[in-house]
């Protein structure tokens, strides 16, 4: 039921009046919620709507010293993580598709484990490994912690994407390459993988959104990403709420553009004649029913 307008008829005169009433009441309720929040934020002791709290956000130094470096830290950690996660995902994914049982099993358990543990737990662990075992300190250690945590988790997600990408290819592809005498590995590397990787491009971009959002967890290990920078800026100015609003808008703009990009890629792949016929969306992996049991 992709066309949801089948849920209701074209409104007649009575339904139109009813819809009008429901719409008005709905808008009034929403405006009521908004008004409660806006009034509460403007409470006289510490009004967040005071002009000076917002004007400091317009000063160039706010952006050059806090928000832009924070944004850079967020984006650089995200990009490094998604690249490394791609590499790790490729290795784990190949491992899971391997015909050698032991490699297959080990990679399967590893992927399930990495997917079950929260990113923050892995970040904390990696951060303390950096300090305690590797002897790295300061910003390098926090960057290492954030990137390692994100890489481990997203690598396992990408491995699953890769596997479902390969498994969703038409059976004829594998059979044809076997028929011309390719080995299992040759089939995988030169026939199945290129198609699977193209098919999963849109979901890789969607995964980048998850990575960008999760860099904010770096706050916990005091990585100076956007959120921590925003808080450092806001504390002396006592304008945390306005700053958080600006930061939220920044995140929404970045991630929304990424999701538009992912949608466009997906549409293009679906249209393309020569490309693979299947497109792996994140739902294919998110849906446990499509996954064969691992144990």
């Amino acid at each position: 039921m992709s066309n949801q307008s089948v849920l209701f008829d074209a409104p007649g005169p009575r339904a139109k009046i009813l819809y009008g009433i429901v719409g008005t009441v709905g808008v009034l309720i929403l405006l009521g919620f908004a008004a409660i929040v806006i009034i509460a934020l403007g409470n006289p002791d510490n009004s967040q709507w005071a002009a000076d709290k917002w004007l400091t956000l317009l000063k160039p130094v706010t952006w050059t010293a806090y928000l832009l470096p924070g944004l850079w830290a967020t984006l650089s950690a995200a990009v490094v993580s998604i690249v490394l996660a791609g590499v790790l995902g490729l290795l784990l994914g190949l491992g899971r598709l391997s015909s050698i049982t032991i490699v297959n099993r080990v990679c399967g358990v590893l992927v399930e484990f990495l997917r079950a543990v929260p990113v923050l737990v892995m970040m904390l662990f990696a951060y303390y490994v950096a300090i305690f075992a590797l002897g790295i300190y300061g910003p390098t250690a926090t960057f290492f912690g954030v990137v390692t945590g994100l890489t481990l988790y997203n690598g396992s997600v990408i491995a699953e994407l890769l596997r479902s990408g390969v498994e969703s290819l038409p059976k004829g592809q594998r059979e044809a390459s076997m028929a011309v005498g390719m080995t299992h590995t040759q089939t995988l590397i030169s026939v199945l993988l290129p198609q699977a990787v193209t098919a999963m491009l849109p979901s890789l971009v969607s995964q980048l959104i998850v990575v960008v959002k999760d860099t904010a967890l770096g706050y916990m290990i005091s990585y100076s990403e956007l959120l921590r920078k925003a808080q450092t800026f806001a504390t002396p100015n006592a304008n945390l709420i306005p700053t958080l609003m600006v930061v939220a808008v920044m995140f929404i703009i970045i991630n929304f553009s990424l999701s538009l990009l992912a949608n466009r890629l997906e549409r293009r792949l679906r249209r393309s004649r020569k490309g693979p016929r299947v497109v792996v969306t994140a739902d294919a992996v998110a849906d446990p029913t499509t996954e064969p049991a691992t144990k």
Partner: protein, 232 residues
């Protein structure tokens, strides 16, 4: 055996069980909250009234693209500190911890509601058009058709993505460590600070706690979605 000894030491020194229970509580309460908000948002998104549809769409896009940490900050620092709202009674000795808990739950619910709404919408998409047409043909209007015909089937079709959301929610309760709710990752960062020599044991202990929680959930939802799938 070092690992086992280390974990035993940690278990004797820290109240890991209480933290584990806190994670379970957070997951349970926030799951109910996000299911409620998410269902409302999903209904708004398919409603015949344009304004409500627009609100549902904006809600889902805005919330899904904002980091959970930021939403939790809004709830904790905005509602609690700036607006001075309080859910727990101020006289209670644990009022600060209780407030952190409840505002954390609100943040978790608001965030995951967007994912629940999307899961339900995909569930609605699995319901054949004929069901809605038949409902209209026997004279049901929008809300009765939705409540009696479409949604019950949509929920059954959406079990798998809802399960994924619940697992994500379980893992995301760790974000509440940033506002000081004493759940597993909060106690983990406390352990790490004072017992760095037990680094590996700490990680394995906390990771195991999450594996214990999320792995059965995954199996349960796979089983449930197979069992409840609407035969067509």
């Amino acid at each position: 055996m070092d690992l086992i000894d280390g974990m035993a030491t940690l278990l004797s020194r820290y109240d890991v069980l209480a933290a584990f229970w806190m994670t379970v509580k957070l997951t349970f309460v926030a799951a109910i909250g996000s299911l409620l908000i998410g269902t409302i948002v999903a209904i708004l998104r398919v409603a015949p009234v344009g304004v409500l549809q627009a609100f549902g769409t904006v809600y889902v896009h805005a919330i899904r693209n904002t980091p959970l940490t930021l939403i939790v900050f809004f709830c904790a620092f905005g509602f609690m500190n700036t607006m001075g709202w309080s859910i727990a009674s101020p006289e209670s000795p644990t009022s600060i911890a209780d407030n952190n808990f409840w505002f954390g739950v609100i943040g978790l619910s608001i965030y995951h509601a967007a994912f629940v709404a999307e899961a339900l919408r995909s569930g609605i998409n699995t319901v054949p058009t004929g069901q809605a047409e038949a409902a209209r043909a026997i004279g049901l209007s929008f809300m009765p058709a939705l409540a009696n015909v479409i949604l019950p089937q949509a929920f059954r079709g959406a079990i798998a993505p809802l399960g994924t959301t619940l697992i994500a929610l379980t893992k995301n309760t760790t974000v509440l460590a940033t506002i000081g709710v004493a759940e597993l990752s909060y106690i983990m960062s406390g352990m790490l600070e004072f017992n760095i020599s037990l680094l590996f044991a700490i990680f394995v202990l906390i990771a195991l706690a999450f594996v214990i929680l999320t792995l059965p959930m995954g199996f349960f939802f796979t089983w449930l979605s197979r069992r409840l799938v609407v035969a067509r």
